[in-house]
């Protein structure tokens, strides 16, 4: 089904503006997506009508806010196919979700001589928490190598697996290259040696249909702001039995059952991991973002984005001096590239002067850039509201810029 793009674009106020006298073309969606009006309305509605602290208030507003808050948890559960909403923990974002697992699961279940496996494609947020943990626990961090096309080498991954492997934490779809990892196979192989698997779903959740039960991943971490939702909000999904076995993350209100000065007993999941007043307004507004996605349909969004990426690839590849970075067959809607003889910063700034927003640099994946022998790339990433006309303008811009050094 072809999407009604005029209608979809009309739902996003931010898209209708000019920068430097040119219509904005927003192609930095892998960094954050724009927000539909329904999300903006949900935020202001909450503060205008329902603002109150949740879960223990003995009044109407607290009741309403609590109900809406828990409705979002239910919607997230359905969105990723979790068994129950207690397996959904709200965090600040993907980064905090991963750090939560490192600080709790890691603290209890990773010990001296154990091994954690990540891949070369990881974002810093799925590298540094494990490095910190390994240093503290005298555990070892192993890295799955990648091929020239930017795909993990599965046979090498299998060689890294052993009885020492306690956790495999890999990105589902690479933010820098768009590569979609074969996570089903990764999870199956990791489980065979008894290791748990965390998926960094920051990029995949907005593009791919995800069913955590079918995938059988043990954890899934993602951010609301890359899913048309508010910033400062993320999700950690974990299997009940694992979450129950994990110690709490932060101490404070909400996460307790009973506190005496001698001893504290902890609340049930998910509250055990949600100390303090949560980001109530944004959690409530996140439901509007999920409703927006569900209304259009994940498969329709994916079909549209696949079409955009194929079109962009065709247009850009024809440009003299254009160098694609990452050519995996299976990709989300991200195109990373360089231009012969030019620094990505310069390309990004020139595109910006044409009203085109892209991202340049190492995309918080410095080890990956080092592996590819690059300082950085230019990254254009597409979303449900992008059009082929916008890609035409991008290609015209890139061509003009490339001509400076590629005559």
């Amino acid at each position: 089904m072809a999407l009604d793009l005029d209608h979809i674009r009309s739902l996003f106020p931010v898209l209708h503006q000019e920068v430097y006298g040119k219509p904005l073309i927003y192609l930095d969606n892998a960094a954050t997506t724009q927000k539909p009006q329904a999300v903006l309305d949900a935020i202001s509605n909450y503060y205008e009508k329902d603002n109150s602290n949740i879960h223990r208030g003995a009044h109407a507003l607290a009741d309403r806010a609590t109900a809406y808050f828990e409705e979002t948890r239910e919607a997230v559960k359905d969105f990723i196919g979790a068994r129950e909403s207690a397996e959904i923990i709200f965090t600040k974002g993907t980064t905090e979700s991963i750090n939560l697992v490192a600080a709790t699961f890691g603290r209890k279940f990773i010990g001296k001589g154990d091994e954690i496996i990540i891949s070369t494609l990881e974002h810093h947020s799925n590298i540094v928490p494990w490095q910190m943990l390994c240093e503290e626990k005298e555990a070892t961090l192993k890295v799955i190598p990648i091929s020239e096309s930017g795909e993990i080498i599965f046979e090498e991954f299998e060689k890294l697996l052993s009885a020492k492997t306690k956790l495999v934490s890999v990105v589902h779809a690479s933010n820098a290259l768009g590569t979609i990892n074969p996570v089903e196979r990764i999870i199956e192989a990791a489980h065979k040696v008894g290791a748990k698997v965390l998926l960094d779903g920051a990029q995949s959740t907005s593009h791919l249909d995800i069913d955590v039960q079918k995938l059988d991943c043990d954890f899934l971490a993602f951010s609301a702001h890359k899913l048309y939702g508010p910033t400062g909000l993320g999700v950690l999904y974990g299997k009940r039995e694992i979450l129950e076995a994990m110690p709490p993350f932060q101490g404070g209100g909400e996460m307790i059952k009973e506190v005496t000065f001698e001893k504290t007993t902890y609340n049930e999941i998910p509250f055990k991991f949600e100390a303090g007043t949560p980001n109530i307004g944004d959690v409530i507004a996140f439901k509007a973002a999920l409703d927006f996605i569900n209304e259009i349909g994940k498969e329709n969004i994916k079909a549209h984005e696949d079409e955009l990426i194929a079109y962009a690839q065709e247009k850009l590849s024809a440009i003299k001096g254009f160098v694609p970075v990452g050519t995996a067959k299976d990709r989300v809607s991200v195109i990373s590239f360089g231009i012969n003889g030019m620094h990505p910063f310069d390309v990004g700034m020139m595109l910006d002067s044409k009203g085109i927003a892209v991202r340049t640099g190492h995309h918080c994946t410095q080890p990956l850039m080092k592996r590819l022998g690059l300082e950085g790339t230019v990254r254009a990433s597409f979303s449900v509201y992008n059009t082929k006309e916008e890609i035409d303008t991008l290609a015209e811009g890139v061509e003009k810029i490339a001509r400076i050094k590629n005559k």
């Binding site: 430097y20 910063f345 310069d346 020139m350 002067s353 044409k354």
Partner: protein
């Protein structure tokens, strides 16, 4: 030799021709970078890198007849253009003139809007480093 203020006024009138056209302005700054004289590869060492720049900038200085000469390079063309503007204003001047210089051309041409806040910080670091060189040569001259 033109004074620092005279050179700044020249630059301001050049940028006035470009008007508000951001695209042309960026292209123009990049072109300016092409005018930098060759920078020796062996000088591209850690101690010559300006800290605080997003892109890499190498800057060295020497003294000729009581005046400070700057040499610079960068891995990005826009930054090259920016440092070439600074060298045009502050290069071949006495340490006193450099230290007392009020770089009002940056505000007059709206450099902050042209390059954005992240690169503006880098620009400030470049100016600071040039003034540090001037201070060192002033101390040497007074010694």
């Amino acid at each position: 030799m033109s004074s620092i203020q005279e050179i700044q006024d020249e630059i301001v009138s050049e940028f006035e021709i470009l008007g508000d056209d951001k695209e042309s302005t960026i292209y123009y700054i990049m072109e300016l970078g092409g005018g930098l004289s060759e920078f020796p590869e062996e000088s591209k060492v850690e101690q010559n890198i300006i800290k605080g720049c997003q892109s890499k900038v190498w800057l060295t200085a020497s003294e000729e007849n009581g005046k400070v000469q700057f040499q610079a390079d960068s891995n990005t063309d826009i930054t090259k253009g920016l440092i070439s503007l600074l060298i045009r204003v502050l290069g071949n001047q006495t340490p006193e003139a450099i230290l007392n210089a009020d770089l009002n051309f940056l505000q007059k041409i709206g450099m902050g809007n042209i390059i954005g806040s992240q690169r503006s910080n880098g620009l400030v670091s470049m100016i600071q480093q040039m003034k540090r060189y001037a201070l060192a040569y002033q101390a040497k001259q007074n010694a």
